[in-house]
Symmetry: C2
Subunit: 389 residues, 2 copies
């Protein structure tokens, strides 16, 4: 299997945008090309687009071809859209990664995009229901917030996790986002603000939840030979893992605060990368809700099971701690434009491992991790390194 | 790069079905497992689902996870949906193929599914418009039938191709479909019937067009080691190519009867397989409209440019000719449930190269080809063989 690296990355402005899919694609694509001077659209052999619901929001399928044309890319090796709900971007990166690792391509862009607030933000909330089982769960109101709220309640009951500890995830990620010009929110937040914000699904309050956001991000993935030609500082893909416990809530293991699939995905990625959890310097973790970040600390091995609340309270997932989690602001602070999220996570690790993250720079970051899920039972983990394995 | 093969394939009944997505998935999944006795859902490491618009027809994203759960598959290596409009199924096969070729997985199901006639067939016709550029083309009525009609008019003007020759594609494929119990249509057709059928977009008449169809199909893709364990007659993936000329009609080369991207995709696949067009015994070609099959003969190299009309009229693309094209009935006879089509094409090549195609068997078929497009400017070609390269 060939070595594979990221050689370019760019992110557009996340938020409620007066922009079409095409506008968002142009913005992220341009930012990505700007990060790799000398690389032109016609040099690329393919494009993979992670996007969930352009059919609903823009009456548009076939969005990878629209994007290729918008960016001047003429795929000669691969072109496709990937969808895996909130993990659509990362499964797109894995599509390009496998093609390049197998020797079927050398240089491919992966772009994630979602224009969720179209035609309205209210319709977006309705559309988000397509991510859970419509016939058996969504139709009865069991959409994402109540599912994750059940996990939070279980974690609080079993491990004594407090509302304040959940709130601290919101504080950290909103404050990180304040240093990220592309984030949806940029005012930061105090614990009081988080704990006094509107209740969404008990115990999850507004500032503990990711918002409905428009946005796009792109990375360029390359074979070892092309990567070394193009840059002195490629960011290597060292490991990847994906695992599923179940789709319907009723298929998951009974303890909703325990996510074995994430553990398995992480173990697979760590093994492939030849590292352990303790080696990770910076992590982009799927904080669709604050409880998800806490459970991820545990299943990723950053702290023992049940101790995530005290881990965040002690600042161990922030600058100066064991591992900096969500330096760009996570989904809570940066926003969650479904298909764009996984690619934006990779783009953040790219700048962190190249010392290009500016005010958000994690000192001496050498190993980075991204975790992207598509429900409590389905997880994808990627490991990146300054050095190849 | 590791060798990769198909080890199982199954197709459900295509047509206007009183069935949900889940029903169609069960049906094709079961047919696929039935073709490989001893193989159980829990043996698989992943599932890729090709599907275009479950968001519109069933208010359901995340359909690969729904499918995995419906079939009892618990992905431990990969899970995703792929979308590339009419070529969604083949880009799904390529996802699994790359993972296995790279050594990232060993045994993966690829399932294609579309429930187009939901809630109604009229709405389906409207929904098909999502496949072309909504803002610049679909909004002005430039959907698939007029695009392909322009190609047909050009081919007739430039090469003297006749309406009768276009009609003979409809006759052949409707008659082939009559021998396929899973086809949408099973009554066959005469040239008179085809030429007297309703005009859709001049010169394309109803029996020269693929219908709006529900259906699903599945194949299981394996590494060499697993393939040899599981069966004495694996069907090897010997080559693949994908290329794009453009998405919008106005981006295509000026001569709509000439599809250079298909030529490039085929050249890439032939080179990889170490064969030439003359070696192909059986081909599943993307006859969304009769003209597409004729142009494909030429771009795939089955006959010189401009001679496709006389090629079909001489029976050279039928049993007893140079290459049997669309033995299962093609998209015209079998139907075109978007995401399912590419997978059903692969499933047909699977049975043909194992001498299991019954009344449709192409004698001594040793090399098979599938061609799946997603518009006149975007093409995917796969080459399969009884023998590995």
């Amino acid at each position: 299997m060939r070595k594979v690296a990221l050689v370019a990355a760019g992110v557009g402005k996340f938020g409620v945008r007066q922009a079409t899919y095409r506008d968002l694609i142009w913005e992220a694509g341009k930012a990505c090309f700007d990060s790799a001077p000398g690389l032109r659209p016609k040099d690329l052999e393919g494009l993979v687009v992670g996007s969930v619901m352009p059919e609903r929001t823009a009456f548009q399928s076939h969005i990878s071809s629209l994007a290729a044309e918008a960016l001047g890319i003429r795929p000669s090796a691969l072109s496709a859209r990937t969808e895996h709900m909130c993990a659509s971007g990362t499964v797109g990166i894995r599509y390009a990664y496998a093609f390049i690792a197998a020797g079927l391509a050398d240089l491919v862009m992966v772009l994630g995009v979602e224009k969720l607030t179209q035609p309205t933000s209210e319709e977006a909330i309705f559309n988000m229901g397509t991510g859970v089982d419509r016939e058996w769960e969504a139709a009865f109101g069991l959409t994402a917030p109540p599912c994750f709220a059940l996990a939070a309640q279980r974690h609080m009951t079993r491990y004594g996790t407090t509302e304040e500890q959940l709130g601290l995830v919101g504080v950290k990620n909103h404050n990180h986002a304040a240093k990220n010009p592309n984030a949806h929110f940029n005012k930061g937040a105090t614990l009081d603000q988080v704990l006094c914000s509107r209740m969404i699904s008990s115990p999850l309050r507004l500032f503990m939840c990711s918002p409905i956001t428009d946005g796009a991000a792109a990375v360029i993935v390359a074979s070892e030979e092309r990567a070394r030609d193009l840059t002195d500082t490629p960011v290597w893909i060292r490991g990847t893992g994906q695992a599923l416990d179940g789709f319907q809530l009723t298929s998951l293991p009974e303890d909703y605060a325990h996510w074995p699939a994430l553990q398995r995905a992480a173990e697979c990625a760590y093994r492939m990368a030849g590292i352990t959890a303790g080696d990770v310097d910076v992590a982009e973790v799927h904080d669709c809700f604050a409880i998800a970040e806490l459970i991820a600390y545990e299943e990723l091995g950053f702290c023992p099971k049940g101790e995530a609340g005290t881990f965040v309270a002690a600042g161990r997932s922030d600058y100066g701690g064991d591992v900096v989690v969500n330096p760009r602001g996570g989904l809570i602070g940066c926003g969650h434009p479904l298909g764009a999220t996984g690619v934006a996570q990779a783009a953040e690790i790219f700048v962190q491992l190249r010392d290009e993250a500016g005010a958000r720079q994690v000192p001496e970051a050498s190993i980075g991790l991204t975790h992207n899920n598509s429900g409590m039972g389905e997880h994808v983990v990627m490991i990146y390194g300054r050095q190849a394995s």
